[in-house]
């Protein structure tokens, strides 16, 4: 297991290094931030001073080398717009996004797995078909439209839930969270449901497909032949087997939830990273964009590692292969 983790960490380092190069070069070719930053009436001398201050007069490879050296020390540069360290800007907004993503993921798992398993056990029942039809809607309706409709229905017409913002927050271990206050929870509910709809549909489909496949396996029949109750057959023998694909996909999708909650955050004015990156892209705030992308890359790498470890806990066969290798 240790060998496996070390090997995976080395692979991850290579991925991060390659990505940093791609991101840095990519962001540097999309446009010139100087035009956005400087007062249009500034004279040539001032423009050159700004360019020099930002380090943009150096050749690209030098800029990259400088970036890497600083990045290794935890400095991803200062925002052109805010003048604050880019990393700090992102980290300030991270708890909001993580809270939203985790809430969405929990909803997807807690509702999706039971619904999917039930639909898989009774594929011909009417309610089972209703679940599957619902999951197709969840897949195909655009997230922003559903978000707007939810605001219209629950915030505007019914007035049950607030439409924007985070509401009251309380600090937990130094991190501000919404879900522990009544007001915060009511603010969290709509965006979390909105963000989870797609994942919920995915989990339902995965759980159903897994159930349909596993239920016909000999070991399920053998478990029944042992005289186990149907509850135990489903909750232990079936569930543990279908969790393998569900965990894999969800782990990877969690990265997506965090990184691309942009749409939901914009619709519900949720003060998270997604909103920051949209603003920064508009203003060509290179350090923030680069820092954001680097954080996303790191996050995906870490999530992949965690998924592999959880996977090996769920599936003993993976464990054995790794100790051999």
């Amino acid at each position: 297991m240790t060998v496996f983790i070390i090997r995976r960490l080395l692979q991850s380092a290579v991925v991060v290094a390659v990505m940093s190069l791609l991101v840095f070069v990519g962001v540097n070719v999309v446009g010139d931030p100087v035009d956005m930053l400087i007062n249009p009436e500034a004279d040539q001398a001032e423009i050159e001073r700004v360019i020099r201050d930002l380090g943009l007069d150096r050749p690209l490879h030098e800029q990259y080398g400088y970036f890497v050296v600083n990045a290794l020390q935890g400095d991803l540069g200062d925002s052109f717009i805010f003048g604050q360290p880019a990393l700090q800007l992102i980290i300030e907004r991270m708890p909001a996004t993580f809270e939203l993503a985790i809430a969405a993921l929990l909803l997807a798992v807690v509702l999706g797995i039971p619904l999917g398993v039930l639909a898989g056990l009774r594929p011909d029942a009417g309610w089972s078909r209703t679940i599957m039809a619902g999951s197709i809607l969840g897949f195909s309706l655009p997230s922003f439209w559903v978000g707007i409709m939810m605001i219209m229905l629950f915030a505007v017409m019914l007035g049950w839930l607030p439409s924007t913002g985070r509401g009251d927050t309380v600090p937990v271990l130094g991190v501000e969270v919404s879900f522990l206050t009544r007001d915060g929870l009511s603010h969290l509910l709509l965006p979390a449901i909105n963000l989870s709809l797609f994942k919920l549909s995915l989990v339902i489909r995965l759980a159903r497909a897994g159930t349909r496949e596993v239920i016909h396996q000999d070991y399920i029949k053998f478990a029944r032949a042992k005289g186990l109750s149907e509850t135990r057959v489903v909750l232990v023998h079936l569930l543990k087997n279908i969790m393998i694909p569900v965990v894999t996909v969800l782990g990877l999708e969690f990265g997506g939830l965090v990184a691309f909650s942009v749409v939901t955050e914009s619709v519900f004015a949720w003060p998270g990273m997604g909103k920051l990156i949209i603003d920064s892209l508009h203003e060509l705030d290179r350090p923030v964009v680069v820092a954001y992308l680097m954080i996303v890359v790191l996050m995906f790498v870490i999530i992949n590692l965690v998924v592999d470890i959880v996977y090996s806990i769920l599936d003993p066969r993976v464990r054995l292969q790794d100790t051999k290798a």
Binding site: D218, F222, R317
Partner: protein, 327 residues
């Protein structure tokens, strides 16, 4: 075996599958008895209904199939019509089953210990520790070395033969009065097959359990069974003691089966085979199902042959049985 207690009596069992294409009569009027401590071989080709017979007895026929007629009397009680909970409390407890493919019967993500202990706890209100001891003893009983360590292992850490031993140990856990073994040696090497056969036979004798040994392999069943029932197209066509069936087969199908076993005398010759193929059980025409492949069939075979008892201990379903001939 006559005069002994009857562990299982199957009477006129019919299990049909109601598919979109029509009704498949997988088991169509099967009757047999298994005496206490007896091993009965249930022989037939693929699709002859032998496995479905086994699943019908323990009430695990998958939809769209169901038992439509007949009685399954086990230790004096008719199992057909028992509710789910009553059946559950019998399965793995009084009637155990061993499956064909040992690679598939154990759950890959659960420890052997979990899978054995749960089988004990499903039927006995005992502490987990006691259930674990029972599991360890059962593993030792089927000849698995260092059972204490092996309990902690996962199925993929066992070879096929070892897994089948584990499956047998699980079947034995609650001291069943009947074990249904569905081709338990088919997926194994010949050497392992011999060991498993020997173990199964020994354990049956030791525990006094009766056994139904389902197989397509006459050579296997000849070595282990006391009596043999030959199935064809959902019916038992011939039944008798192992010696009678092997030495004096009377049904043309049984004769064909025995004739196709290669022996020393047939070395170099073309192997005998029964012409044609197993008929589809979907919308099977009335009359003897074997008549299309039978060398002695005539117009009489268009009518369904009724079971007859031409000799003591012998049941036959044939209009033209070949009796009292020396092979």
């Amino acid at each position: 075996m006559a005069g002994g207690e009857t562990t299982l009596a199957v009477e006129g069992l019919k299990t049909h599958f109601f598919t979109k294409a029509g009704v498949v009569k997988a088991v169509d009027g099967v009757s047999f008895e298994v005496a206490k401590g007896e091993i009965m071989g249930l022989v037939g080709e693929s699709g002859s209904g032998k496995t479905v017979t086994g699943f019908s007895i323990i009430g695990l026929v998958d939809p769209p199939g169901r038992v439509v007629e007949g009685r399954v009397i086990h230790d004096g009680r008719d199992l057909v019509g028992l509710d789910d909970e009553q059946m559950r409390s019998l399965r793995g407890n009084r009637i155990a089953m061993i499956f064909q493919d040992p690679m598939m019967t154990l759950n890959p993500v659960l420890r052997i210990e979990t899978q054995m202990v749960e089988a004990v706890l499903a039927h006995n209100a005992v502490p987990a520790e006691q259930a674990r001891d029972a599991a360890r003893d059962a593993l030792g009983q089927v000849g698995i070395p260092s059972p204490d360590e092996r309990l902690r292992a996962y199925p993929h850490q066992f070879s096929g033969g070892m897994r089948q031993r584990v499956a047998i140990a699980i079947a034995l856990l609650n001291r069943p009065s009947l074990i249904i073994a569905d081709e338990p040696t088919t997926a194994l090497d010949v050497t392992i097959q011999g060991q498993i056969l020997y173990e199964a036979q020994k354990l049956c004798r030791e525990t006094g359990a009766s056994m139904i040994w389902i197989t397509h392999d006459l050579a296997v069943v000849a070595g282990i069974a006391d009596r043999i029932s030959v199935m064809y197209a959902g019916r038992i066509v011939e039944q008798g003691t192992t010696a009678d069936i092997i030495d004096q087969p009377a049904h043309p199908y049984t004769r064909g089966l025995i004739g196709s076993v290669p022996s020393r005398n047939t070395r170099g010759d073309r192997l005998f085979q029964i012409p044609g193929m197993t008929p589809s059980l979907l919308n099977l025409a009335p009359g003897c199902a074997f008549r299309e492949r039978c060398s002695v069939a005539d117009d009489a075979c268009l009518a369904e042959p009724e079971p007859s008892r031409p000799l003591p201990g012998r049941v036959l379903r044939c209009h033209h049985p070949v009796l009292d001939t020396a092979q």
